[in-house]
């Protein structure tokens, strides 16, 4: 496994963090969480997990990190929960599903079945992965965010 590639997840998250007007001093934490999430997903994939399952595990890790770091740093939870999962979006699967659909318009009857199979598989993996990322990133905030915040700083942060 190429661990160094995960560092690029930290670069990928920076652009989105700036678009979202994330405060400057929170950027290092977001980069670290994004790299960590990518590493977790890579390890899960190495252990044989499917992409949606590996992404769910990584996103839950991001969500848990967010509910701990946000109240300690007095920031809103979405800063740490939302941006770091964006590098986990399955871009190539989304692209392949789209190009598969476009290939159907060429009308080559002999290859249509294979194209449909590939496009459906890619679209299913992409959709399930995105759902897994959303559910994983947001669940810790909704389930334990308030309780963790009270434990950590005794304030009503979400």
């Amino acid at each position: 496994m190429n661990w160094v590639v995960s560092i690029w997840a930290g670069v990928a998250v920076l652009g989105f963090a700036l678009v979202f007007s994330v405060p400057r001093r929170t950027l290092p934490a977001i980069v670290v969480i994004a790299i960590g999430a990518h590493l977790v997903r890579s390890v899960c994939l190495e252990l044989g997990a499917t992409l949606p399952t590996a992404s769910l595990v990584a996103a839950i890790g991001v969500g848990l990190a967010a509910v701990i770091v946000a109240p300690v740093t007095h920031q809103a939870t979405p800063i740490f929960a939302f941006a770091p999962v964006i590098p986990l979006i399955p871009g190539t699967y989304m692209f392949n599903a789209l190009t598969g659909v476009l290939d159907l318009t060429t009308g080559h009857a002999t290859t249509t079945s294979a194209i449909v199979d590939t496009a459906v598989v890619d679209a299913s993996i992409a959709t399930l992965t995105i759902v897994a990322l959303a559910v994983g990133a947001i669940s810790p905030t909704l389930l334990v965010g308030r309780h963790v915040a009270r434990l950590l700083v005794n304030s009503p942060e979400e």
Binding site: W8, P78, I130, A134, V135, P156, E158
Partner: protein
């Protein structure tokens, strides 16, 4: 203005700012109710739709209801943080309505933290990083940087002209993909161009609305959740249209 009128008005202001800045429905409701209580309301009831916020506050025999339009989904996490801090401070330190109003005005007028050109460069960097993550070669990743940077500028300029998301997103995706696909043809890149193409248009993916929509569904705010997910679907379709047009055009010209 009476105390109840202050609670009503300032809670609405809080709700509007959270909606405008990309907060999910539970966060909006929670912050509005906390602000109303901190300003003297004994009871409050919040109603949030995709484009409106409304609240009823009760204190003794008095009751008042008001609503506001809050329709656009710009994302500004710094505003969310500032609002969260203000609500907490109002609860703990019992800030006066005038102080809360003045802080809210500052938050509303704060604007963006980073200069536009820095954000655009960073989005280009994100596109290149995505390309590397997807397995692109250095040359393909460079094209992704250029495509992402140019596409981000296009979207920024079209959004500034208040064009509909379908137009701004499809145009941005078209420009990004055309640069990558055209550049790939010129440079003779084949193997990893797919990764660069996919990466160059990812800056338009509506990550926050998708996450907020999911959060709304998981917290039983079904209508708001469906609206956010529908908006995300429109944006993804728009990106797909721009991307496919560019790929077709580049293929036809080669």
């Amino acid at each position: 203005m009476t105390d109840l009128a202050d609670a009503l008005d300032l809670s609405l202001e809080v709700g509007e700012l959270i909606q405008l800045s990309g907060g999910h429905t539970t966060r909006t409701i929670d912050s509005m109710e906390r602000m109303a209580a901190a300003l003297g309301a004994q009871e409050s009831h919040v109603a949030i739709s995709s484009v409106n916020v409304a609240i009823t506050v009760v204190a003794g025999d008095e009751k008042a209801t008001a609503g506001r339009h809050a329709g656009h989904f710009g994302i500004n996490f710094n505003t969310l943080t500032q609002i969260e801090r203000l609500v907490s401070e109002t609860e703990v330190n019992r800030l006066a309505p005038a102080q809360v109003r003045s802080r809210l005005t500052l938050i509303r007028n704060a604007g963006r933290i980073y200069p536009v050109w820095v954000v655009m460069l960073a989005l280009g960097g994100s596109s290149a990083a995505f390309a590397v993550l997807f397995g692109a070669s250095p040359a393909a990743a460079s094209l992704a940087f250029l495509g992402g940077w140019a596409g981000a500028w296009v979207r920024h300029m079209l959004v500034a002209r208040r064009l509909q998301p379908f137009v701004s997103v499809s145009s941005a995706a078209f420009v990004s993909a055309l640069i990558v696909a055209g550049g790939g043809e010129v440079l003779g890149l084949d193997d990893t161009l797919t990764a660069a193409l996919a990466a160059s248009t990812l800056f338009v993916v509506p990550g926050v609305p998708m996450l907020n929509g999911t959060a709304d569904l998981l917290t039983a705010h079904y209508l708001n959740g469906m609206v956010k997910l529908a908006m995300s679907a429109v944006i993804i379709v728009a990106a797909a249209v721009g991307l496919s047009l560019a790929v077709s055009l580049a293929g036809a010209l080669s």
